[in-house]
């Protein structure tokens, strides 16, 4: 029946395994040194047997030293709740106060190891009033054991614990159905609980869920496989813990190196130390520093034990760069083709950890990825009832309450959604008065400009906004405008690389149209960026926002019958699509100034030189891709400078844009 068990080594708990007789301690130590580490969380409501289970795991893995054991026998007689049997729970409840109350009131960390693995257990209490402790324990755990009393089944607490586990992004859950002895090791009871739990957990985001029936007090199916539940074919608790695969849970895709410490032992050496938060950092690779966006290459990855070619999370290393760049603590080193979000506004799940309730108007410190900045609350979207998962609106949080908020930081932070990246998606909030950690958060994502809340968009909510917008009763008709201006409005959108000559074209075109009697407005990068878009930079995200604004202006002008000339690099198809959507396909005329890279560099060398020196980044055609449009309305070459304006004027006339008559 039980031959499907793949490994059975844990049944021998001697640290030396089978080889005890012919012990080679060196071989043992060499092997022990290579074990990996599993951090786990245990959750359950009071008296489900959590302490008993942990005590068993520790005891049976022979980590409970003999003298602790004899002290335990003494203590059991005095305050033990387990009658004549040894009360394993007493091993664990450390602080005096709680020993007297008989409950676990904080997060306690326990250590044990087997032949296969080292384990760190975060042991946390179960009441609602200890939500913050459980959240704390969960923050570092790879796996959670959620205990259920077989006589009680899935209860409110089970749901709460599971919700918290999924909120904190734990990928592996084991539902330990305990006290199976009290239900005669009955399969039906177990199956019902499993079905009940499954129907609930599908609402939540936990990729790996497992079910194990145990009787912790008897040690049944904890370490040794069960003999009393022949219907169960899975691994025992310890077998499972020893074999669950966790090394691929980390994010190895998005390289983030949040500079923790600048190492300057002397004037010749400048190292940047940090833990690799995610991704693989490689020697020789081209990097970008945020927020300066300066680029360089990794020269060395240094450790005390020798230089590395690559480093991965959670290694702590020091790197040096090819170029002298000013970098300080809190800056983030990334690859230029894989940037994190760089934002001041974002949405997050928040857990309130402080006795003092939240004051929504207070400014706090936000500590995130070795960076500390001031932060304020813009909006509380809702609170989640941890027991029912019901959402409700509130105006502040109290201790242990959880909900979704919008935050604005003083300076931009570099993050990824917590779901994708635990290290760059988590933060703590510190009260500057008390210095307490009052809340912790998990970033959901940035907010798109349309979703920015009231305080930022200067109006109630977007919904409210929309209902307040009335289409004006304009008294001038399109036909009247056509007649007045002798033109049909259009947006002449000129795209091309920096230095392609598109600005020069735009200005000569404007002059010629003006002289011919057209009503025309020219929009170009420098005029918009110096005012309307002055807080935006050249990253793909900000570029998109910048062009969104330009498109809206152009549309307004077109609506008034005016022709616009827009001269913007607009490097990729997505950005241009967004623009077309706003302006409308009919009015949008795309003119591509098709210049070679050599031409551009010769024509306008300054920016390209700066780029070569690593002083600027995100330069289309250089480190940012420029995708030439597939079907432009007109394709022009800078070499035809003398005739380009004429070509456009002819097109306008042919298509009755200007003049109509």
């Amino acid at each position: 029946m039980k031959n499907d068990k793949t490994q059975n080594t844990s049944t021998d708990n001697s640290p030396f395994g089978e080889a005890r007789g012919t012990l080679d301690i060196n071989a043992y130590l060499d092997q022990d040194e290579k074990k990996d580490l599993l951090r786990l969380l245990t959750a359950g409501s009071v008296d489900d047997g959590k302490s008993t289970l942990i005590g068993r795991l520790l005891f049976d893995s022979k980590k409970i030293y003999e003298d602790q054991l004899s002290a335990l026998e003494r203590d059991s007689k005095r305050v033990g709740h387990a009658g004549e049997e040894i009360d394993y729970a007493l091993l664990l409840d450390g602080l005096k106060a709680e020993r007297e109350q008989g409950i676990t009131i904080d997060v306690a960390y326990r250590y044990f190891s087997t032949n296969k693995r080292k384990f760190i257990i975060a042991d946390t209490p179960g009441h609602t009033q200890y939500t913050r402790n459980m959240v704390t324990g969960a923050s570092t755990a790879n796996l959670a054991i959620i205990l259920i009393d077989a006589t009680k089944g899935v209860i409110t607490q089970t749901r709460r614990h599971t919700f918290l586990v999924s909120l904190l992004g734990i990928k592996h859950v084991v539902l330990a159905v305990n006290k199976m002895d009290l239900v005669n090791y009955d399969q039906k009871v177990f199956d019902e609980i499993v079905a009940d739990y499954k129907s609930f957990i599908t609402q939540l985001d936990v990729p790996d869920v497992n079910f194990i029936p145990i009787a912790a007090l008897k040690g049944e199916n904890v370490v040794e496989p069960t003999t009393l539940m022949p219907w169960y074919h899975g691994p025992s608790m310890l077998e499972f813990l020893e074999s669950v695969h966790i090394s691929s849970d980390r994010n190895f895709d998005d390289m983030r190196f949040p500079v923790q410490y600048v190492l300057r032992p002397d004037l010749d050496f400048r190292g940047f130390s940090a833990r690799v938060a995610s991704g693989i950092i490689r020697k020789g690779e081209k990097i970008m520093v945020l927020p300066s966006r300066k680029t360089s290459r990794i020269k060395e990855i240094i450790t005390y034990d020798g230089n590395l070619d690559e480093a991965f999370p959670p290694q702590s290393v020091t790197i040096t760069l090819e170029d002298e760049i000013d970098i300080s603590r809190g800056d983030m080193i990334v690859y230029p083709d894989n940037l994190p979000r760089i934002e001041r506004h974002f949405e997050a799940n928040l857990v309130w950890m402080d006795e003092m309730p939240m004051d929504p108007n207070m400014q706090l410190f936000l500590k995130h990825a070795n960076n500390t900045t001031r932060v304020k609350f813009d909006k509380i979207q809702y609170k989640v009832d941890v027991n029912t998962l019901q959402k409700s609106s509130i105006d502040h949080f109290e201790l242990n309450e959880i909900g979704r908020v919008v935050l604005t930081t003083n300076k931009a932070i570099f993050f990824d959604p917590y779901k994708k990246n635990r290290s760059t998606g988590s933060f703590i909030l510190i009260d500057p008065m008390t210095n307490n950690t009052v809340a912790v958060g998990m970033i959901i994502d940035k907010l798109s400009a349309d979703d920015l809340p009231s305080k930022i968009v200067d109006d109630k909510t977007l919904e409210a906004n929309k209902s307040r917008i009335h289409k004006g009763e304009c008294l001038i008709s399109d036909a009247q405008r056509q007649k007045r201006f002798n033109q049909n409005p259009a947006t002449l959108w000129i795209t091309g690389l920096h230095g392609s000559g598109k600005n020069e074209l735009a200005f000569t075109l404007e002059k010629e149209m003006f002289d011919a009697g057209a009503t025309v407005v020219l929009l170009d990068g420098s005029s918009i960026r110096s005012g309307l878009s002055n807080e935006l930079d050249f990253s793909p995200t900000d570029r998109a926002e910048h062009l969104r604004r330009v498109a809206h202006i152009s549309k307004l002008l077109n609506d008034q019958g005016i022709i616009t000339i827009c001269s913007f690099i607009s490097p990729d198809e997505n950005i241009r699509k967004q623009v077309i959507q706003i302006i409308g396909e009919d009015r949008f005329k795309l003119i591509h100034m098709d210049a070679t890279m050599e031409f551009c560099k010769k024509n306008k060398p300054e920016l390209y030189e700066k780029f070569e020196e690593g002083l600027i980044a995100n330069l289309p055609g250089a480190d940012l891709q420029f995708a030439a449009p597939e079907n432009p309305t007109l394709m022009l070459k800078p070499e035809n400078r003398a005739t380009n304006t004429k070509t456009i004027m002819e097109y306008l006339a042919d298509h009755k844009i200007f003049p109509i008559v």
Binding site: F16, L23, I25, L29, D32, E33, K35, D36, L37, E66, D67, Q68, L91, L92, G94, L95, K96, D106, A108, Y109, R110, Y111, S113, R117, K118, I120, D123, V135, T136, S139, S247, R250, Q260, Y261, L263, P265, F269, G271, S273, R275, I280, I302, T303, Y304, F312, P314, Q315, S316, M353, F365, H368, N370, R422, S423, S426, I428, I430, P432, N435, T437
Partner: protein, 302 residues
């Protein structure tokens, strides 16, 4: 993906280095408390690793109770000199000159005056705002809930009810003037991890850890070594040569030895895994009363 996975020791090492750097970055005036024991030797090595190829940017401080084993002091001085450490040695000199010691004043008074008081005095004298300690959570029950950044008020007191939540690896390092933080970078290490690391890294440790014939008196079941002439004659007289080693090091009259043949790290580990007596029972100060370590911590001792 398996190639991108660390062994538990390397993971613990990376965690400790991260913690040590965080303190150096966030505090103005940190210090690393160095007790000469194996745990603090590991901690110092981790600090050296954290700032390599630079030097450790903060001093080490040893609180010398004046009753340490002679071999400890010798080891400390040699090792500090060889490695060019910035080492401060601080003692409660007033009490020492007044003659405080374990034989005359008892273990409780001695520990309080020459260790706890001396530590507070040393921290105050140099106005340190953060102090690293080599304590581990698996050492003693009450430590299991200790934070890595453990907050202390103006009087260096630890309030178990008023500790900050500690999530992920984001540490709240903000303190008001006069307040401080004790930091435990090797919180998550076990005794076996320490021995493994000492072995792998070839970290020098005091020879007292290894079994040797030593002059030993049995005092109420504790094997106490006769280390100098301050031990009262009537006790010292009973000394016999015994093959012993020490599992923890402290004041010689307060630190019990264990009988052992283990004269290499490998043998120590072997002994540890088979004869399992937890290390702190060999330290006499713990016999006082239940929860005694918690009491001491509240008072400012580590």
């Amino acid at each position: 993906m398996t190639e991108y996975s660390l062994s538990h020791l390397k993971e613990l090492e990376a965690e400790a280095i991260h913690i040590i750097r965080e303190v150096a970055a966030e505090f103005e005036n940190p210090v690393m408390l160095y007790s000469i024991g194996k745990d603090s030797s590991v901690m110092v090595r981790l600090a050296e690793k954290a700032f390599y190829p630079g030097k450790v940017p903060f001093p080490l401080m040893h609180i010398d109770s004046k009753w340490k084993f002679k071999e400890m002091v010798e080891f400390r001085d040699n090792y500090a000199r060889e490695n060019n450490w910035n080492l401060i040695v601080h003692s409660n000199m007033a009490a020492f000159e007044a003659g405080v010691g374990p034989f005359t004043h008892g273990s409780k008074v001695h520990t309080d005056v020459m260790k706890t008081q001396a530590l507070l005095e040393g921290l105050g004298k140099y106005k340190f705002d953060a102090a690293f300690g080599g304590a581990r959570r698996d050492e003693e029950k009450s430590r299991a809930k200790e934070r890595i950044f453990s907050f202390r008020d103006k009087f260096h007191q630890w309030d178990p009810k008023n500790q900050r939540p500690e999530l992920w690896d984001i540490y709240n390092a903000r303190v008001h003037k006069g307040e401080s933080i004790r930091v435990f970078p090797i919180s998550n290490w076990t005794e076996l991890d320490i021995w493994q690391y000492v072995r792998l890294e070839k970290i020098p440790i005091v020879p007292l850890y290894f079994a040797k014939e030593r002059p030993i008196v049995n005092v109420d079941g504790n094997l106490i070594m006769v280390d100098d002439e301050r031990m009262p004659k009537e006790i010292a007289e009973k000394a016999e040569m015994k093959m012993v080693r020490f599992r923890t090091l402290g004041c010689y009259p307060l630190t019990g030895a264990v009988e052992s043949e283990a004269d290499t790290i490998e043998k120590i580990v072997e002994e540890m895994m088979t004869v399992t007596v937890s290390e702190r029972t060999t330290r006499v100060i713990d016999f006082d009363q239940d929860g005694s370590m918690e009491q001491k911590k509240r008072e400012g001792y580590f």
